[in-house]
């Protein structure tokens, strides 16, 4: 890709950081404070979206700020992969912001200023990860994201929340330490840490070094991607307010881990070198096991958010499994699933949040007949469930199709079976909720009563978008083209 100088990647990162300053101004009215969040979210999405035509034309907006270590600069560069992540995260921040306002005022939550400020920092860090041009820049934003999420996890300040926060930090900081090691090791092996499609490791790198580097990446990015057995922070972190679970634990934080894998496999180690070392087979086996085990655990969860959390663990491994297969189709499927899973899972978390605010029910067994009280919410829930089970016409089908095709291309029938079996399990744990909601008799939920429009409108939007992205995968907004270009640049060697 041809690089063009542009200030926009930097602005996209900074806009929400600047908003933090306005959010924390003391003694302002809540409406004024929240308007800064909304303004920043809209501005961020507009900035990212305005770079899309350039990227589609094969140009990559980039800016190099200053050297941060001899020979390594703090640099941002928007490529196919980065804009997929950037677009989905910045768009979903807008809907989540509206949903958050409805949620924290409906409960009502304490310390809302800290809440919105931390959220804005998280989004800056996410954009930084998406647009980082080298591994050091990525690591800086990755660690900022880890720290900025911490106050959100322990937001409730109950003993469980504090425990969840501790567990979160132990897991994520350990991952961060391995990431620093991986970063330094990469620098020693290749003399550079700039991302380059196809990898930067010299071809003559010793096989043992490749395996060690890959293990370090697995131990670092694997934590945020919640690959078993490094996943258990994620269900515990569900004590956070639901919008946090929705955006951070379904979209930004965990996808940052998955995105890290895409960078490490495709842009640092390189598929060719990694394939030769044979290390990726281990990752594939680990993720396949995670998919099945997480789905089985999800079946047994009564708490709705816990069930969603384990479902997230499974779907994150879909993506990482796809990335570790080195077939263009599997990469397309994996990258599409970053967006599609985000859209569907955020819908489900929004539904869980709306149900919590309206009825204070958190368990699946309490939801008999809730479809009569909250028909719109549960309709959205149904659409997203269909998608996650991989049934057309919702977008989850498209990504799963490519994932299955990719496994077939490389002759790994065992992964084909894994994906199909997991689809059944997904159907099992989601459809049971849908059936309960619409068909089980209830004397509790008889009258129509949705949550506030601030919560219902966002979840309807994301559900409808999931459906539209399933019907027109390449119309909105060219995710298919972006994903296939990214896959081609990595697997095909060089760019289009």
């Amino acid at each position: 890709m041809e690089t063009v100088y542009s200030l926009k990647p930097l602005l996209a990162v900074l806009v929400s950081l600047v908003a933090v300053i306005f959010i924390v101004i003391p003694n302002q009215r809540p409406n004024v404070r929240e308007s800064w969040t909304i303004l920043a979210a809209l501005a961020k999405f507009a900035l990212v979206a305005s770079m899309l035509p350039l990227v589609l034309a094969g140009k990559s907006p980039a800016i190099t700020l200053f050297a941060i270590s001899p020979g390594i600069s703090l640099a941002l560069r928007v490529d196919y992969l980065g804009i997929i992540f950037g677009l989905s995260a910045s768009f979903l921040w807008i809907v989540t912001s509206f949903f958050s306002i409805g949620y924290v005022r409906g409960i009502p939550e304490h310390k809302q200023t800290r809440y919105f400020a931390s959220f804005a920092i998280c989004l800056s860090a996410t954009m930084g990860i998406a647009f980082a041009a080298n591994l050091l820049t990525l690591v800086i934003f990755y660690e900022i994201l880890t720290i900025a999420t911490y106050p959100l996890v322990l937001h409730r300040e109950t003993p469980e929340a504090i425990f969840g926060g501790r567990k979160y930090l132990v897991y994520l900081l350990t991952g961060g330490v391995f990431l620093l090691f991986a970063l330094a090791f990469t620098y020693q092996l290749s003399g550079t840490v700039d991302f380059q499609a196809g990898g930067i490791l010299p071809a003559q790198t010793a096989k043992s070094s490749v395996i060690m580097l890959f293990t370090l990446f697995l131990l670092s990015f694997g934590v945020k991607s919640a690959i078993m057995p490094m996943h258990s922070w994620l269900p515990t972190a569900m004590v956070a307010p639901t919008p946090v679970s929705a955006l951070l634990h379904a979209v930004a934080v965990v996808k940052a881990g998955v995105f890290g894998f895409a960078r490490a496999i495709g842009f640092i180690i390189g598929p060719a070198v990694l394939n030769e070392s044979g290390a990726a087979g281990f990752l594939a086996a680990l993720t396949a096991a995670t998919i099945l085990v997480a789905s089985l655990i999800a079946l047994r969860q009564d708490n709705l958010k816990a069930r969603l959390a384990y479902s997230t663990v499974g779907h994150l491994s879909y993506i990482v499994l796809g990335l570790s297969l080195f077939s263009p189709s599997a990469w397309i499927g994996a990258l599409l699933h970053i967006v599609n899973h985000a859209m569907m899972k955020i819908t489900l978390f929004f539904c869980a949040g709306a149900i919590h605010v309206r009825t204070h029910c958190d368990n699946v067994s309490q939801l008999n007949g809730i479809g009569r009280q909250m028909p719109l919410t549960m309709a959205a829930f149904t659409i997203a469930s269909i998608g996650l089970a991989g049934i057309p016409p919702v977008n989850g089908f498209i990504s799963k199709w490519y994932l299955v095709q990719g496994s077939y291309d490389v002759g790994q029938m065992v992964f084909v079976v894994t994906f199909l079996l997991s689809g059944l399990l997904n159907a099992g744990y989601f459809f049971s909720i849908v059936v309960r909601a619409f068909f089980a008799p209830s004397d509790k939920f008889t009258r129509f009563g949705e949550a506030s429009p601030l919560m219902v409108v966002p979840l309807v939007i994301t559900a409808v978008l999931s459906l539209l992205m399933g019907l027109f995968p390449d119309r909105i907004p060219y995710f298919f083209q972006l994903a296939s270009s990214a896959a081609q640049s990595v697997i095909g060697g060089g760019g289009p």
Binding site: I68, I140, E143, I144, L154, E157, L173, F178, F181
Partner: protein, 490 residues
């Protein structure tokens, strides 16, 4: 020739006496005189660093006597770097108001400012002198000043100070004995002259003994595990301003002396290959990092936790010396700077908390974050930097140390650095959690706590902002100041 190095020492010593004299008359003037003296020294030190970067080494012959007959002061990249840190941290801590920083005992404030200037002058003198014996004189000047200053902390501090006095005197004697051996073998006390005369004598047992004595002496002074026993008491009972100077710059000066002997007085190869000095320092440091971090986790008292954290952090510097390659040494020297900012910030926060609330144990801090948000966010920045979260300064010293460890192929050291980040995270996040998330126990001291005054906040916030700025501009420091230093390594 440049007299900037003399100006630094002269303005500190001159205002040391002025401060004590005018202080008898008006208490406030002692403070003003002390601040003026250090500020002048900072200007001279800054100019000196600039001259070194643009023109190279600056030498000054005291009294016009050329070495090896007279004493010379030398500003090169290493000493100019150190002296700027010393005087800057000195200025920040002296600005900090005495009622919070020195536990306000008016009769003692006047001599305290004189002693603080004497302490800073001694530290700066060790760094700028090019004479082996003159270094000993300054070493004793700053040691004596610090023994006296620690006692300001109360009854328990007197005992701690006495313990430090005994061990510090032993350390000083070791150094003097080592220098004596060198003098008897070479007939010179000038560093540059000794460096010229020593190589033929490298096989001599006398010189080997001299190296051992000097390194052990400085090992005690820099509290390198297991020679650290004096540190936890002395640093936790000393008043906050004194503790800040002791932890942030005093023990680092001892590390400087080791680096100075390794790089210029001897040839680096002598310390690395001929004698296993760097290897021994490295392994002592690796043990010290783990020991200090674990002990810090076990502490309830905030300042005592910081004291054990110092044992661990100074061992990072030792580890970098132990790696004995350019990247490792850059990490060590950069950590001297970064640790100076972080640790002085943390001790000043401890002083602020104690002054505002009277509290000093971490379990009592529950809910304080809400009451003093500005000071506690400064604390959080310093704590994140100690853990090594980018883009704070602490991340980058760790980054160079890890790079150096990988280059040396020393996986144990790499593992120690990484594991200690996690241990550090345990004791700092435990406190962050208390400050911001734990429910306050209804303690009236916490309920009535207020943000401290601007005079207390200003030095703390300056250091906190400095921690982030140093992280972002670390390349400038590394390429202009530190790379010329480590170029001496093979």
């Amino acid at each position: 020739m440049s007299s900037l190095s003399v100006l630094i020492i002269a303005s500190l010593l001159l205002f040391c006496f002025i401060s004590a004299l005018v202080g008898i008359w008006r208490l406030r003037w002692a403070y003003a005189a002390a601040v003026t003296g250090v500020a002048l020294a900072l200007v001279a030190a800054g100019a000196g660093l600039y001259r070194v970067i643009t023109d190279g080494e600056q030498r000054h012959f005291l009294g016009g006597w050329p070495p090896p007959f007279g004493i010379e002061y030398v500003l090169d990249h290493l000493s100019a770097f150190m002296v700027v840190i010393i005087v800057f941290i000195g200025l920040i801590t002296i600005i900090y108001p005495p009622q919070a920083g020195l536990y306000h005992t008016p009769r003692r404030v006047v001599p305290a400012y004189g002693l603080l200037l004497l302490l800073i002058a001694g530290l700066a003198g060790v760094v700028v002198t090019g004479d082996l014996f003159n270094l000993f004189v300054f070493l004793e000047i700053y040691s004596l000043a610090s023994y006296a200053l620690i006692t300001l902390g109360g009854d328990r501090a007197v005992v701690a100070s006495f313990r430090y006095l005994v061990l510090g005197t032993i350390a000083g004697s070791f150094y003097l004995l080592g220098v004596g051996f060198i003098y008897f073998s070479t007939g010179t006390l000038n560093m540059a002259d000794a460096a010229r005369l020593l190589p033929p004598l490298y096989g001599s047992p006398t010189i080997m003994a001299a190296v051992a004595l000097i390194v052990i002496g400085m090992g005690i002074k820099m509290a390198l595990f297991p020679l650290h026993v004096w540190l936890p008491d002395a640093h936790s009972y000393a008043p906050p301003v004194v503790a800040a100077i002791l932890a942030a710059i005093q023990i680092e000066v001892a590390a400087y002396v080791i680096v100075r002997f390794m790089l210029t007085v001897f040839q680096p190869g002598y310390f690395i290959d001929v004698l296993p000095v760097t290897t021994i320092i490295g392994w002592m440091a690796a043990a010290g990092i783990i020991f200090g971090s674990v002990m810090a986790i076990a502490q309830k008292d905030f300042k005592r936790m910081l004291a054990y954290s110092t044992v661990a952090q100074v061992a990072y510097i030792g580890l970098g010396i132990g790696l004995a390659n350019p990247l490792g040494l850059i990490g060590a020297l950069l950590h001297i700077l970064n640790h100076a900012f972080m640790k002085s910030c943390l001790f000043l926060v401890a002083g602020g908390i104690r002054y505002q609330t009277g509290l000093h144990a971490i379990p009592q801090f529950a809910g304080l974050g809400r009451k003093m948000p500005l000071m506690m966010s400064a604390f959080t920045v310093a704590a994140l930097s100690m853990v090594g979260i980018p883009p704070t300064a602490g991340f980058f010293s760790k980054w160079y140390l890890v790079l150096g460890g990988i280059e040396a192929g020393n996986w144990v050291f790499v593992a120690v650095i990484l594991a200690s980040s996690l241990l550090t995270a345990v004791y700092f996040f435990r406190m962050i959690e208390k400050l911001f998330a734990a429910p306050s126990g209804g303690d009236p001291a916490v309920e009535q706590a207020r943000e401290p005054s601007a005079r207390i906040l200003a030095p703390i916030m300056t250091l906190a902002v400095g921690i982030i700025v140093l992280g972002l501009i670390n390349v400038l420091i590394v390429s202009y100041v530190l790379q010329p230093v480590v170029a001496l390594l093979p």
